[in-house]
Structure formats: C-alpha cells, structure tokens
Amino acid sequence: MWSQGTSGSGSLVLVAALFSALVLAPTLAIHVYTHREVHGTVGSQVTLACSFWSSEWISEDVSITWLFQPESGKDTISIFHFVKGQPYVDEVGAFKNRMEWVGDPHRKDGSIIIRNLDYTDNGTFTCDVKNPPDIGGKSSQVTLYVLEKVPTRYGVVLGAVIGGVLGLVILVVVIGYLIRYCWLRRQATLQRQLSAMEKGKLQRSAKDSSKRGRQPPVLYAMLDHSRSTKSASEKKSKGGLGESRKDKK
C-alpha cells in the first residue's frame, strides 16, 4: 500500500515537472528592449538605451555587448562589452574616447552614451545581453540617424502657440473678474460703513434736536445713499475690464 502511494505521488511529480518544463521553457529567454530609431545632431551626444528582462536573478556573470554595423558596410563590429562587473569600452576603433557606459545591470539597464556624433556613426547598433543560465533570446537593434538638424514633430509649434495664447487670455479674463469682484466687495463694505455712520449721526441729531424736527440731514443721507447704490449697480453691470476709464459720469 505504501509503495503504491509513493509511486502515485512520484508520477504526479513527474507530470508536474514535465508540464512546467514544456510550458515555462519558452519564457526562459532573455528579452531585450531598445528604441527602433534614434535621431541625433552632428556634434552632440546621444543615449542608446537598452533594457532587458530576465527570468533569472541577475548574477555576476551577466554580460552585455554592443555591436555596430555601419550604414555603408556589411561587417558588424563589437564596440562594447560588459562582463564580470567590468565595462570594457572600445579603445582602438571608431568610438575611441567617445563612448561612455551609463548602464546598471542590476537595474536591468544596459545603456551607453556616444558623444561628438559624426555622419560616419549612421548605422545599426545591436544590444545583446546574456545572463547565465538565461542565455537564449533575441537581441534588439536600434538605428541611429545623424542629421544636421533634428526635425521637430509636426504639431509641436502649433499646439504650443494655441495653448500659450489661450492660457494667457484665460488668465487675463480670470484676473479681470477677480479684481472686479474684490473692488465690488470693498465698495459694499465701505457703503455699509457709510450708512451705519449716517444712521448713527441721524439718531444722535434726532435725539439732540427732536424738538426742532430737522428734515435736511435725513434727505441728504437718503440722496447720498441712493447715489452710491446707483453707481455700484452700474459698475456691476459692466462686463470686464477698464470700466473706470470709460465711466466719465
């Protein structure tokens, strides 16, 4: 009974191992990603970015190689090699003193920078990464175009001009509304203070000379109040900027 149970569990383990080997085997490859095309201007520098994904843990044996095939040639030459934690930059070829290693294998980044571009740098660069035991997989290629002037994408200037002017106009209108709102609030508080003062004066004068029954101060206060409300409502009706200039009343 025991032997049958163990043989049953043994066959189950075997099936599971076979299944995982068949299914997981295709994904046990290294994936390398670069741009398709990179543009650079003569004399400037360009970053050739290369990132990779490996199903294994990044060991110390990871190796990164950059190859270059000129546009007008069929040979592919090796220009950079990184192995055992040490970058080896090409010291004798066309990229002598122009290349710099800026990648970090533990961050899955294998980028290099090429300075002082020239028209002879036109061509295809290949990034090849191997991370033992994960060594299968496709390497990725990036084509470098060295131009006199990098062409700006269509629509950048268009969008910038439209966005800038619209933003400016909206800002001006909002500021105009804010100024008008604050000014109206100040007018309202001043008017309230004024009417409170007048009411106080009226009460005092009424108490003092209630026997004489003076009319003129009351009429004066009413006239003043009506004039200030009329001017406040007229200012409320204006639609925007520059109202003080136009209002000559």
């Binding site: 269509y154 002017v165 619209l166 409502s233 009706s237 639609g239």
Partner: protein, 161 residues
C-alpha cells in the same frame, strides 16, 4: 434698436464666415496652376488629368500661421457666444466689454497670421516670377479690419431696452 442689433449680428457672422473660408480653402498662394495653402498643396496634373493634393511642409512658421488662424476662429466664436450671453444678462446701460475684447483679439490674431505668412512664405514655397496670392489670403486681410470694427462697436455699444 432691433435693426442695430441685427446689423451687429450680421457683421459678426460675416467676420466668422470670412475667417472659416480663409482658413479652410486651399488658395493662399497660386504658382502657375498649383495652389499652396496652409494645410495642403494641390495641383492639377495634365497627363492624366487629375487633381492631386499633398500635405504642406512642417515648417515652424507655417505652423504658427495655422495656429493664429485657428485661434482667431476660436476667439470669434467665443465672442459670439458671449455676446448672446451678455445680451440677456447685462443690465441696462452696460457695455459688452468681453465680447469686444475677444473680437478685437480675433482680429489681431488674423492680422498676425496673415503678416507672418506674407513675410515667411518663401521658406516653404520658393518664389518664382508668377507667384500670386490667392483669394483666401485676401479674405484673411479683409477679415482683419472687419473684426476690429466689430470689436470696437461692441466696446462702445451700450445695452438699451
């Protein structure tokens, strides 16, 4: 009073129509049979006889002219919308400041777009002896003073009734 209102609205709509036609129609430059425009260059081929259009260059100055024309249309439409808003919400005696402001802005945009085109059209269309300006270009220049006049009328106008 109603006549004045109608006249102002007709003027505004005329400016808007001029701006639209000028921006869309492909007739800014005429170079012996070929027309060049803000958006595309069209030409009539002799053999076989067909009319072919190709998108214009991506020159920065051409893009700024396109941007100015689009902005002028946007501002004119906003101004019309605001005019109707203010017509019903403004109190008696008030002035249409924002409407006038946007309309004047539209006029300035058209002017700057047409001016940039006049100065810089040789960048994307080499000048030959029989390069002539098309009617869409002329419409843009006509729309500019009309838009300014319309905007100034809005600023001066006072709401009655």
């Amino acid at each position: 009073m109603l006549l004045l209102l109608l006249g102002i609205i007709v003027l505004h709509v005329a400016v808007l129509v001029l701006l639209f036609v000028s921006t869309i129609v492909s007739q800014w430059l005429i170079v012996n049979g070929r027309t060049a425009d803000l958006w595309q260059n069209c030409s009539t081929l002799e053999v076989p006889s067909s009319f072919q259009c190709v998108t214009s260059s991506t020159n920065e100055w051409l893009q700024s002219v396109q941007a100015m024309m689009i902005l002028s249309i946007i501002f004119s439409v906003l101004s019309l919308f605001w005019f109707f808003c203010q017509l019903f919400t403004l109190t008696k005696g008030g002035r249409f400041y924002i409407t006038g402001f946007f309309q004047i802005l539209a006029g300035l945009c058209v002017m700057s777009g047409a001016a940039i085109f006049t100065v810089r059209h040789t960048d994307w269309q080499p000048a030959t002896s029989d390069t002539a300006f098309g009617f869409a270009y002329i419409l843009a220049w006509v729309a500019f003073p009309l838009a300014i006049i319309s905007g100034v009328i809005y600023v001066i106008l006072r709401k009655r009734e």
